[in-house]
């Protein structure tokens, strides 16, 4: 049945390429916003262009503290109490749409743009 195998292979390659193409609109934009989430709660939304000097943010989690380093380009996890440290090895995210996730600590970092973050219904002054 080798013919079907080839067809499947070609099909999957096309599918994956499509995935990459759709994902392509993520070049660095000036309005990057870092969304810091823990266990379904959005803790902070940080406008990266306002970060002049790099700084660390600490996220208290079940097993300790996850430490995130942010600068005006992006963010990465510096330290985490998780066992595998996968989140640290994901490196730094700099493009919108990119994410870093630490599953055991339920931490999710996402880069998005100001436009996507949505207008306010009103501002109370």
């Amino acid at each position: 049945m080798r013919k079907n195998d080839y067809l499947l292979l070609v099909f999957l390659i096309i599918l994956t390429s499509l995935g990459y193409l759709l994902h392509g609109s993520t070049t660095s934009t000036p309005n990057k916003i870092l969304i810091v989430q823990h266990d379904q709660n959005i803790l902070q939304k940080i406008q990266l262009q306002k970060i002049q000097t790099p700084k660390k943010i600490e996220i208290p989690t079940e097993h300790g503290t996850v430490i995130v380093q942010i600068d005006h380009n992006g963010a990465y996890i510096v330290d985490s109490p998780c066992r595998d440290k996968l989140c640290i090895h994901q490196g730094k995210i700099t493009h919108t749409g990119q994410t870093i996730v630490c599953m055991p600590e339920k931490v999710l970092l996402t880069l998005t743009t100001a436009e996507k973050e949505g207008a306010l219904d009103a501002i109370i002054r």
């Binding site: 049945m1 195998d5 379904q40 595998d84 994901q90």
Partner: protein, 169 residues
């Protein structure tokens, strides 16, 4: 090809040995989680055995096999009902559903089954991660994970084919 529904002693013995091997392989793989830049990406060697069992024993017995493997790996390595466990479960379920369909309808050779299994395993993992984190943001990993899944899927498929040729049950 698939035999009757009951497990003979011979089958039980064979499956137990294969189970031990699969559990060991998966646990060893879990020790190297960051070889590739994407969490959840792995060689998938344990899947070689799943394909082997699927083709040699049929869907029903593979369900038992997989359930036992997942449980054992959970107890010994990832922990039960941790996020890591649930993600692995999601991947295994989706991958198995498609692989068993493929085998029952004889769509592909073991190579194709391996390819399909790896692809679906990654999809299942991402879907589970989206559900657990309640965020679509993790979908951004999908293209890279799928790209890695193609060569690893081929690899496991080829290994399964070799195994099937060499081992006479």
């Amino acid at each position: 090809m698939p035999s009757s529904a009951k497990l003979t002693t011979k089958e039980l013995t064979q499956l137990s040995i294969l189970l031990a091997a699969a559990v060991t392989l998966r646990i060893i793989e879990n020790f190297f989680p960051y070889i590739l830049p994407v969490p959840g990406a792995r060689l998938g060697l344990a899947n070689v055995l799943t394909i082997f069992v699927l083709i040699s024993y049929g869907t029903n017995k593979t369900v038992l096999f997989l359930a036992a493997r997942i449980l054992l790996v959970g107890l010994l390595s990832t922990g039960l009902f941790t996020p890591g466990f649930l993600i692995g479960l999601g991947g295994a379920l989706l991958s198995f559903s498609f692989m068993s369909l493929a085998v029952e309808h004889n769509w592909f050779s073991p190579i194709g089954v391996g390819l399909l299994g790896a692809f679906m395993h990654n999809c299942g993992q991402i879907i589970m991660a989206v559900y657990i984190l309640n965020s679509l943001a993790v979908l951004s990993y999908l293209p890279l994970l799928l790209a890695i899944g193609i060569p690893t899927g081929l690899f496991t498929g080829i290994l399964a084919k070799i195994l099937l040729k060499r081992i006479k049950l």
